[in-house]
Amino acid sequence: MIALVLVLPVCLGVCSLIAKNRLVNRIALIGTAMVYVAVPFAQGMNIVWTVQPSWLTTYFQFDTIGLYFFCIMTVVFCSAAVYSLFYFKIHALSAKQEALYVLEILLFVVSMSGVILSTHLALLWVFVEASTLTSAMLIYFEKKKSSLEAAWKYVFICSIGIALAFVGIIVLSIGSRHIDSFFFRDLYARATEINPFWLKVSFAFIFVGLGTKIGVAPIHAWLPDAHSEAPSPVSALLSGALLNSALLGLLRVQEIFIRARLDSFSNFLFLITGMLSLMVSAVFMLRLKNYKRMLAYSSIENMGILFIGIALGRYGLFAALLHTLAHSLSKASLFLTSGNILYFYKTKKIDEVNGLLKTDPRTGWLWIVSMLAIVGFPPFPIFISKFLIIKAFWLNGMSWLAIPFFLFVVVVMYGMGSTVFKMAFGDSPRTTAVHSKLPASAFVPQLVLLIILCLIALHMPRQVMDVLHGATIFFQ
């Protein structure tokens, strides 16, 4: 099963690179998407893939929270894959460029699933670093000056961060000399024996390292550049899946802390960074000129909300996991729709885009509805997770924190709302917008994502609920 997930995409990517013809590229891309969709179902019916090298299962395993994050990544990857077909068409890429794009995306997805599956802390570090490297070329795919600068900053800052995380891992090994293994199950079992001082120092390093990858407040500066310069499907994957996989890494490390009953230290850390990210996103949401940067800042804000959720104990963790799912899907649909807008208006400037509903009603309404989803209006799950986090505030007795939380969330809502409505409404699209009809692949992925979101909000299917509860109880 795991071999299927890790090895197959690499082979498909390589052979599409060799073949260099459009059909092979598409088969590789859609084929991997199909396989990734099949895996959770197979895992659900626990069909075990018989022939599998033993060391593979020791290092990679599906546990409940891993399955949850894997499903989110799969959904985002499928929508990005379908959208990429539209992306190939409008950018009229040559077969070679297409092949390169497919290879990089598949490697990127493999490295992310590696992070999700790995049960060894250092191996997890390796895959996080791999995901940075594979996504760097993707950001630079459009060969523009600004995307070069964004890619360079992304790669360098994240590599520095990840190096610091490796320092943290080594320091952790200092603290846990007698355990002498980095498998999570060993670390969890004997968490209390680890020397608390070295554990805290290692957590500080790992938190800063993985925090850089998640893009939380003091270490977020690369995120707006990287996510706004990447091609739309790639930035959807970046926001929807990459941030989550790094978050899963941090959650697994934080679990050691909970088992060692030191979680008051880590919760305080999560709380500060969460509030800082909210503040930063509120600061810049009001002064933005570029709508893709707006989406990036909204990712920072939602990661902030996630961190606050994690800091609020078991109830908050449930809200945070629900929020992860909601944020990934709505952010992916937002980035894909921004791709459409880019196709119509050829500009990322907010002032030069208006009357979107006139240009193409479908894109206009998708743009508005997915903004409503990300900001947290009712039919969408972020509203529910926000309510649960507020409730968690009171359960943990930190009610005074609700005031800044609400203040920043409303400021961000105002920033995004006024931008999106300024773009969507208004009468004359001044730019010579291209009036050709959009192919199905340009708006079907977003539609599917939004439908899944509504379904989750109003009537959560039982299986997803069990996975969610399993994920929180996993940490029990």
């Binding site: 250092a122 570090w125 760097a136 070329m137 000056k145 890619a151 360079w152 790669v155 360098f156």
Partner: protein
Amino acid sequence: MTDILIILLGTSMLYVFAVSRIEAYVKTLAFQGFLLFLLVIIDIQEIDWLNIAFLSLETLVIKTMVIPYFLFTVIRKNEIAREVEPYITQFYSLIIASAIFIFGFVAAFWAATTNAGIKPLYFGVSIMLIVSSLFLIVNRKTIITHILCYMMLENGIFLLSLSVANELPLLVNLGVLLDLFVGVYLFVIFFNKIQEMYDGSRIDELTDLKDE
């Protein structure tokens, strides 16, 4: 014997602070790789010869020969000679470097007192290497210097892992080396692209993506 090698490593870092020609940086990088190779060979504890062989291969071949040669060719192709004047002037950054060096020794003594079972001098010098390479990244302006300092950071981390001396499984070591190599390869690709687009490898021109 190992202490001398480690002190040499520390002084090589000081040398990087002093000098401002880029070839000198690459030479020190190769020298550090070689020193690390010697340390690995001398400081054998475990029997697992496969791991040791891999580590020595890694330090000797990759860090001493392949990457420095690779960087040499790139520097020659783009005719970069000198480092640009950094934010904090050469003189003061040297003082800071020495302060970090002393801090490294203080950390070493402190590590000796705690019974965490780590080799004190290794620990002290590796901290010195990490902190000073981070300071260099923040302080210097050309991109190639950044790549080189990143490599020195990796050497520092390698030294820290040696100080703990509990062996990571082979698969993980392979992964770490692979990441390092691909990372440097990517940095150099980006470096060449920036050279073409920005005709001059000053890092502080790369500031048009901002929300001032």
